[in-house]
């Protein structure tokens, strides 16, 4: 896999940085030949992952750090990694179930969106050790689609 470009962000766990993070990643992802609809899906999954870090990882504490790394590989593959150093998840499998949420106001949809709009998703977490969410999506070529 050859890395074409990458960006690494580090920011404070403030709610206003959720829109900052998704806008940055959406803008970076537009270097791939993908549709506006696909960019919107990428922005959504970043929003969910960063919101999870603030709400669940840090229990809404605003003075913590969140790290986002985005890589474009092999021209068409986008990899996103969102990391926090928060409280971690005891049962990752349970947390990823569609109806599960420790916060009833968000319906437990965050991981559902991430799984649905990305090709692969991996959550690495344990109590007290923070959480890393890795997601990958390969976009089809719209150039070929246009000629099909």
């Amino acid at each position: 896999m050859s890395i074409k470009n990458y960006v690494r962000l580090e920011f404070q766990s403030l709610p206003e940085n959720v829109s900052f993070a998704r806008s940055c990643v959406g803008s970076f992802a537009s270097q791939i030949d993908c549709t506006l609809e696909e960019i919107e899906e990428i922005k959504l999954v970043v929003s969910e992952a960063v919101s999870n870090s603030i709400i669940h990882g840090y229990d809404n504490r605003t003075n913590e750090k969140i790290f986002v790394m985005v890589t474009i590989a092999d021209d068409r593959c986008l990899e996103i990694m969102v990391e926090d150093r928060g409280k971690g998840i005891a049962d990752v499998k349970q947390a990823m179930e569609p109806t599960y949420s420790s916060d009833e106001t968000r319906m437990g949809l965050g991981f559902t969106f991430m799984k649905s709009f990305m090709d692969d998703m991996e959550v690495i977490s344990s109590p007290g050790e923070g959480t890393i969410v890795k997601m990958r999506r390969t976009f089809m070529s719209h150039e070929k689609e246009a000629y099909a």
Binding site: P15, E16, V18, S19, R22, E37, E40, K43, L44, S47, E48, S51, I54, I55, E104, T105, R106, M107, G108, L109, G110, T112, F113, S116
Partner: protein, 110 residues
């Protein structure tokens, strides 16, 4: 996010503008609940015409208000959602609980 509220008889019409995420969800939830608890409101129309983004925090506010409104036998509608916002609403099945219409006029014409 701009929140504009207008009450027409027993219906609260809420026009939202901007991005509906965790940064604004709590404020929106509190403002809607204050109105729903203090005024004689039966029905709720949420106009998403100028909402450019929604995630699970925003969806949670909508579902939570649907539960409140329906528990009082009221009705709730969403109007004007742009295609990308409507796609998310349909994806998570909110449209099965809260009908989505093109405009407020469409609801009056039902």
């Amino acid at each position: 996010m701009d929140i504009e509220m207008k009450q027409v008889r027993n219906t609260l019409i809420v026009k939202l503008k901007g991005e509906l995420d965790m940064q604004v969800a709590d404020k929106l939830r509190k403002e809607l609940d204050k109105k729903l608890e203090n005024e004689k409101i039966e029905n709720l129309i949420i106009n998403l015409g100028k909402v450019t983004f929604i995630d699970s925090s925003g969806l949670g506010v909508i579902i939570g208000r649907y539960k409140k409104v329906s528990s009082r036998k009221g009705k709730m509608y969403i109007v004007g959602a742009n295609p990308s916002v409507e796609k998310i609403l349909v994806f998570c099945g909110i449209n099965k609980l809260v009908p989505i219409y093109g405009s407020e006029q469409d609801i009056i014409n039902i």
